[in-house]
């Protein structure tokens, strides 16, 4: 594409284009977020966001290299330039943004920490968990949230910290832990997957922390930061404006100025960010809008949209105007 020839003014974007690939840090395996299917194709909401950014940057959604990262190496990998963006269920916190030389370009999933217990325990509220043994995945913000919660309520607990989520769940099922604390979305999907046995497990009503899950990039490259942030906004705007993968081509005839600006029919929004004007069109064409991504990846896990709905439907996703 000739517009790339002059250089975008962003080192990261230049590197990505020179490479012809977006390098995207994801998890090694979390169903619904990023998990290779039986054929080895990476699927999930994280993977789709990577593809959306690739579509915006390179024009093709499939030019993504997925790098599975662990909780240990994810920040270092981004810092050292091993990956371009980190889309790995990472909670947006102050210390992460202040200390690491990294920043959050946007939130795609609003989550919170909750508890799940075995029904037979008869526990109704997390306030009854004093003295319980709790399974937690280490290195996550859940760990701190649970500690804070118990401290706040003057209770004690015994943590069991197991790195591998699947092992954590097995441990919980075996009864080694009384409760399993995790992001509510993960707990819900865990319960959903138990099939007929799902009623054996109870999700306690309290949400003990805010967990906005976002996309991380390195600090110091504002152009790329903008591109990532607005790619995510384009997904939401697409949903708000009813632009889907299926109808995006018909929408090219739309009269709605918002849609026309977004799809690059009017104005120079793309050029301003150093990419093709058709960037949002390409995102929606190849990945679909946020609602579609959700339906494709998260809904099968049995997680309801809840606060992740658009603001128009009582949720928290509120795309700023594309002007």
């Amino acid at each position: 594409d000739p517009s790339w020839a002059q250089g975008s003014g962003s080192k990261t974007i230049d590197d990505i284009r020179a490479r012809g690939q977006l390098v995207c840090g994801v998890t090694a395996g979390a169903a619904g977020f990023s998990l290779p299917d039986s054929r080895g194709v990476m699927r999930g909401i994280d993977a789709d966001i990577c593809r959306a950014v690739a579509a915006a940057t390179l024009g093709e959604a499939d030019k993504v290299r997925y790098v599975p990262t662990t909780v240990t190496n994810r920040f270092t990998a981004l810092q050292s330039g091993e990956i371009d963006i980190l889309v790995r269920s990472t909670t947006w916190t102050l210390s992460r943004e202040a200390n690491l030389g990294l920043e959050f370009a946007g939130v795609y999933f609003f989550d919170g920490t909750g508890f799940m217990v075995n029904k037979s325990l008869g526990v109704k509220s997390s306030k009854e968990l004093n003295g319980a043994t709790i399974c937690i995945q280490p290195g996550t913000s859940t760990e701190l949230a649970v500690a804070d919660y118990f401290r706040e309520h003057g209770m004690k607990f015994k943590p069991i910290l197991i790195q591998d989520p699947a092992e954590t769940q097995n441990t919980f099922i075996s009864g080694r832990c009384d409760a399993y604390s995790m992001d509510i979305s993960a707990l819900a999907s865990f319960r959903f997957q138990q099939g007929p046995k799902k009623d054996d497990y109870v999700l306690l009503p309290e949400v003990i922390s805010k967990e906005p899950v976002g996309v991380m990039v390195r600090k110091g490259d504002e152009k790329f930061f903008d591109l990532v942030r607005w790619s995510m906004i384009a997904l939401l705007q697409g949903e708000e404006s009813g632009v889907t993968q299926a109808n995006v081509d018909q929408m090219l005839d739309s009269k709605d100025p918002t849609i026309r600006r977004m799809l690059g029919l009017e104005g120079d929004l793309g050029k301003a960010m150093g990419v093709d004007n058709k960037w949002a069109y390409k995102i929606l064409k190849s990945v679909g809008n946020f609602g579609e991504i959700w339906e494709r990846n998260i809904a099968p896990l049995g997680i309801s949209r809840g606060i992740n709905a658009l603001w128009t439907k009582g949720g928290l996703h509120y795309p700023p105007p594309m002007r």
Binding site: A31, L35, G40, P68, Q79, S80, E82, S189
Partner: protein, 394 residues
């Protein structure tokens, strides 16, 4: 007395010794009497029931073995679920859920085996890594056979490894290009282990020689520090350095291939361990062998390559194999560079929520694959050891 004794003895001896021209012929040979422990019953008596404690131990062990064996057969074969129906929303694992605890759910393997074996390699092209696995096994078999121990073997290795590279990457001969980051499964394990050990081995020899170079104190200290430092830290931290932190050590822009870096880390690590083993062998070799080679006017490298090392290495085959086996398994740590090796691929396959409850089955299969490779390696080395000692001992 002497005469009579002699006469008595030759009478007693029974076999007269006929002699031709002063040189006695060999006396007639008798076969030994049947030993007490002949026949299956006798064998059992001497080997299993030789004393009362021994009999008790034997019986207890036999009963335990029988119980475990039947339980395992029941679970793994008789009550096992071999496949499940596929529905629109994915496989329906109801049958497996019902059998849980009673029978194995092998359906997880039939569903996931390609992912476990080949990772994220392009689905349609997975015949290529399959061939690579076969090639590697063929390479091991050929290298193991003594009649191939000639210069041509190096050629075979180079050719095979080239073919492996072509198959894995593609991009030529009409093969689709498959980038390295989507390689995975068993081929990654084999590549890392084979290259790792093949390169670490020569390096370890140099380090071992360096550690014994009494007249080069600086080199000796360097080698010692290298070995002790590397041996003292876990491989995973070395891999962490090599994979995620490496770009921080290099000038900006210089960023060699990631698999290569991990490979180098594995090599450096394996070399330190192997060097200690080789050093043990060098120490055991008698000084006379060095002196004999010197006295013939051989130079240092000739002496080392043809006299010292062949003997020293034979002495340390068992610990060498211990180390080889260790490293074959340790390649599973490369998840940190984002590659799905065999073990990680297995674990990721189980992250699929549908199959999560059937980890035992997957782990069993993984264990069996690892076991097959390591066991063959151990068996072969034992044969090699005995072969060497047969040829050099009476």
């Amino acid at each position: 007395m002497s005469q009579t004794t002699t006469a008595k003895i030759s009478e007693a001896a029974g076999d007269p010794v006929p002699s031709i021209a002063g040189i006695p012929a060999a006396p007639i040979t008798r076969a030994p009497p049947l030993a007490a422990g002949a026949g299956p019953l006798g064998w059992a008596r001497t080997n299993l029931f030789s004393s009362i404690p021994s009999t008790i131990v034997t019986l207890v062990l036999l009963i335990l073995l029988a119980r475990w064996a039947t339980e395992f057969v029941n679970w793994a074969i008789l009550h096992a679920v071999w496949s499940v129906p596929n529905t629109a929303t994915g496989p329906d694992t109801a049958a497996c859920r019902d059998a849980k605890g009673i029978g194995a759910c092998w359906a997880v393997i039939s569903e996931k085996y390609r992912f476990i074996l080949f990772g994220r390699y392009l689905y349609e092209e997975q015949w290529r890594p399959a061939i690579v696995i076969v090639l590697f096994i063929g390479l091991y078999v050929v290298s193991a056979m003594r009649q191939f121990w000639r210069k041509e073997l190096i050629l075979i290795w180079i050719t095979t490894l080239t073919v492996v590279g072509v198959l894995m990457w593609g991009g030529v001969f009409g093969l689709t290009y498959v980038p390295q980051d989507s390689w995975g499964g068993l081929p990654i394990t084999l590549i890392l282990a084979t290259f790792g050990l093949a390169c670490a081995f020569p390096l370890s020899i140099l380090v071992a020689l360096g550690r014994r170079a009494t007249n080069l104190p600086a080199i000796r200290v360097l080698c010692t520090v290298y070995v002790e430092l590397i041996r003292g830290v876990p491989l995973i931290t070395v891999l962490f350095m090599a994979s995620v932190m490496f770009p921080l050590f290099m000038p900006a822009g210089l960023n060699p291939d990631k698999l290569l870096r991990a490979q180098v880390a594995v090599i450096l690590f394996a070399a330190a361990y192997l060097a200690e083993v080789v050093r043990g062998g060098l120490q055991t070799l008698p000084k006379g062998q060095y002196e004999a080679a010197d006295a013939l006017g051989l130079g240092y490298w000739h002496k080392t390559a043809f006299i010292i090392l062949p003997q020293a290495l034979r002495l340390v085959i068992p610990p060498l194999v211990n180390t080889f086996i260790g490293f074959f398994k340790d390649t599973s740590l490369v998840l940190i560079i984002g590659l799905f090796d065999l073990l990680t691929a297995g674990k990721v396959a189980m992250a699929d929520l549908v199959w999560q409850p059937y980890s035992t089955e997957v782990y069993l299969v993984l264990a069996a694959i690892y076991f097959a490779f390591c066991y063959v390696m151990a068996r072969y080395s034992r044969g090699l050891e005995q072969g060497f000692s047969r040829s050099t001992k009476r």
